[in-house]
């Protein structure tokens, strides 16, 4: 039932949008937090996100399609009528796509990490190069996957009790969102309380201290970048396999980059990353939400809202003179 909610539809759509749209922001920013805690910045996550979206979608489709074909062939071999299955009938294939996107993302991270381990190579520039390379290779291999339909990631209907369809839609929560929240809490705890978290922070705060303690700085940073890349790959797979839920070359326009800016705003704190991601998700939903209630003028301007918000937050939280509180000491971007 589609109830006319009037202007109430706007805050509801914003909350629903925040939950739906925030997930890729959350994953990319958590991954980037790990990388930046180690003292490096990976601006290439935009490219990783797009490649993750392509490979996750493509693999989910190919695996689902193979399973569907196998089911049909089995039925024919047994003399049964072929079942009406397609790639979309296998949510498990979508999860495999997420896993493959994570592996691909970590490979991008390893490449970034290894190149940055070379002397006199600037991590920001490598990030830009990896961003362009990731986009190029995603578009190159992604052409055949624009048309076919891959399975969706399943979601949990938290508001199944409601008979208002907009409420049900808003609280249809994807499992990755919940995994993201759990990861944020686990990371927050692990940074403070585990040996790995300590090693990461030492390497990120003072390369000299880490060297004195006998840690291999480049190894730690490369691994941290690889984990960050895997997170961004998952974020990309969410884009193509759940929301918006298809693969095309315009699937991300700066989400990966905004998530990197968001980490600075969140002061390298995973819990703050979650709230910041929710804020960004809600802002991104502003344009479509207003359009749904009939405000159509300035559609493109409302779409620019997340970028302007990011800029505003960066202006508000940066400072000309003092180093940022909580910033890893070795990070080039805050010096």
């Amino acid at each position: 039932m589609d109830t006319d909610l009037g202007w109430w539809a706007v805050p509801l759509a914003l909350i629903g949008g925040a939950i739906r749209i925030s997930t890729p922001f959350l994953f990319v920013s958590l991954g980037e937090t790990i990388t930046e805690k180690s003292g490096r910045i990976n601006l290439g996550l935009e490219g990783t996100l797009i490649f993750g979206a392509m490979i996750g979608y493509g693999m989910a489709y190919l695996i689902g399609d193979a399973w569907a074909q196998a089911a049909i062939n089995d039925a024919i071999a047994q003399g049964l009528p072929p079942p009406a299955v397609s790639a979309r009938s296998y949510p498990m294939a979508a999860w495999l796509g997420v896993g493959i996107a994570a592996i691909a993302g970590s490979l991008f991270g390893v490449v970034h990490g290894l190149i940055c381990s070379l002397k006199r190579v600037n991590d920001i520039a490598v990030g830009i190069a990896m961003m362009l390379f990731g986009m190029g290779i995603a578009f190159y291999f992604g052409k055949p996957f624009i048309a076919p339909a891959a399975p969706d990631l399943p979601s949990i209907p938290f508001a199944a009790w409601s008979d208002v369809s907009q409420v049900r839609d808003a609280f249809n929560v994807n499992a990755l969102f919940i995994i993201g929240i759990v990861l944020a809490v686990v990371l927050w705890w692990a940074f403070r309380n585990t040996r790995l978290g300590l090693i990461l922070r030492v390497v990120g705060d003072s390369a000299d201290a880490a060297r004195a303690l006998g840690y291999n700085i480049n190894l730690v940073r490369t691994l941290a970048t690889a984990v960050g890349g895997a997170f961004a790959g998952i974020g990309g797979a969410f884009l193509s396999l759940y929301y918006p839920g298809s693969w095309n070359e315009g699937i991300s326009s700066g989400q990966g980059l905004m998530a990197v800016a968001l980490v600075i705003f969140a002061r390298w704190n995973p819990i703050a990353c979650f709230w910041a991601a929710m804020l960004f998700g809600g802002t991104s939903a502003l344009g479509p939400a207003l359009q749904a209630v009939g405000v159509t003028g300035g559609y493109y301007l409302f779409n620019a809202a997340p970028y302007i918000l990011t800029l505003g937050l960066m202006v508000a939280t940066s400072s000309r003179n003092r180093a940022m509180a909580g910033a890893p000491g070795e990070l080039s971007i805050t010096r």
Binding site: L43, V111, I115, L118, K119, R120, V121, N122, I124, A125, V126, I128, A129, M130, L132, F133, G134, M135, G136, I137, F139, Y140, K143, S253, G254, L257, M258, V260, A261, I264, G297, G298, Y299, Y300, L301, N303, A304, Y307, I308, T310, L311, M314, V315, S318, S319, R320, N321, S332, I333, T334, R335
Partner: protein
Amino acid sequence: MVQLVGDGGDAVAPPPRVTGRSVLDWISRRAEVVVIPLGAILAGLVLFGVFLWIQGHDPFQFYDLMYLGGFGRQLSIESALSRAAPLLFAALCVALPARLGLVVIGGEGAIVLGGLAAAAIALPLANAPAFVGIPAMAIAAMIAGGFWIGIAGALRHYRGVNETISSLLLAYVAIALMNHIVEGPLRDPASLNKPSTAPIADQLMVGTLPGLNVHWGFAVGVVACILAWILIDRTTWGFSARIAGGNVRAAQIQGLPVGKLIIGFCALGGAFAGLAGMFEVAAVQYSANGSLAARYGYTGILIAFLARHNPLMIIPFAVLLGGIEASGGLIQRRMGLPDATILVFEGLLFVLILISETFYGRFRIFNPEKRSPA
């Protein structure tokens, strides 16, 4: 800030003694900045060839077509030079701020807004003569582009906001702004499928160079590169910018106007990128529309890094990349490769050119001071 413009190993070496071998030494020191990028490009050609070969494509056919489509005939050279025109300006938008250690990657936004401003000012100037209208379009484009990248510079200086992220975010805002304006206030009702501003008047269209089917934007771009080189290599402003790029605090103690330099160099880079947009409107599209966001800004980043932020070196690399991009259509048709093929090649080239940074100062042949006993 980061140290972007190094002089390789000889930055820390003692000044060379004047000997009989000094000319040879000079050549071998200079050769480093040519040989290392060429080595990176060669490595890119080989690696990309392997990439194609693994997928069952013929790399030799690919490079053959690249040569044919980009440089092999007069027609393709003209098309390479035409494509190089916006790339020259876009690369300057990266190279000028780089003198101060800034990594500005939002040139795309300045191109888009420059084109939009040029198309907008052309509307009331529909009856103006060319010698008034064309400079007015150029000035409007330079102000729009300069303002946009100037914002990134000002945020950097006054608020410490990272210019790499802010400039790219501003590029997305600029594209949204352009879409809003060409679909709303300035939309030409006659543009049905592709929302555009009204076409500019005939006399405001910029023609081609004498004897070549290449628009004037290329010549202006080459002049801009030469002027930018004079600015940073032969003036005190350029010298101050280099000092500030090396060490901000030392520059401030010296009393250099660091803030003005940062904002000025960013704004000048943005103004050049704005000109790229103006020529796209005045010589190619004849109106402002979505085609202004054609990734010139991103190719410009690659060119600036290939040229190691030296404006004179931007000229050959812009022509090279212009040729490579011009050959894209031919490669797509003849080999059935996706249009993103060139994008992959450029991305690979970018990664390799950054890896090559690590080799500066490592080869003895390029560092005569290390070779000769002290």
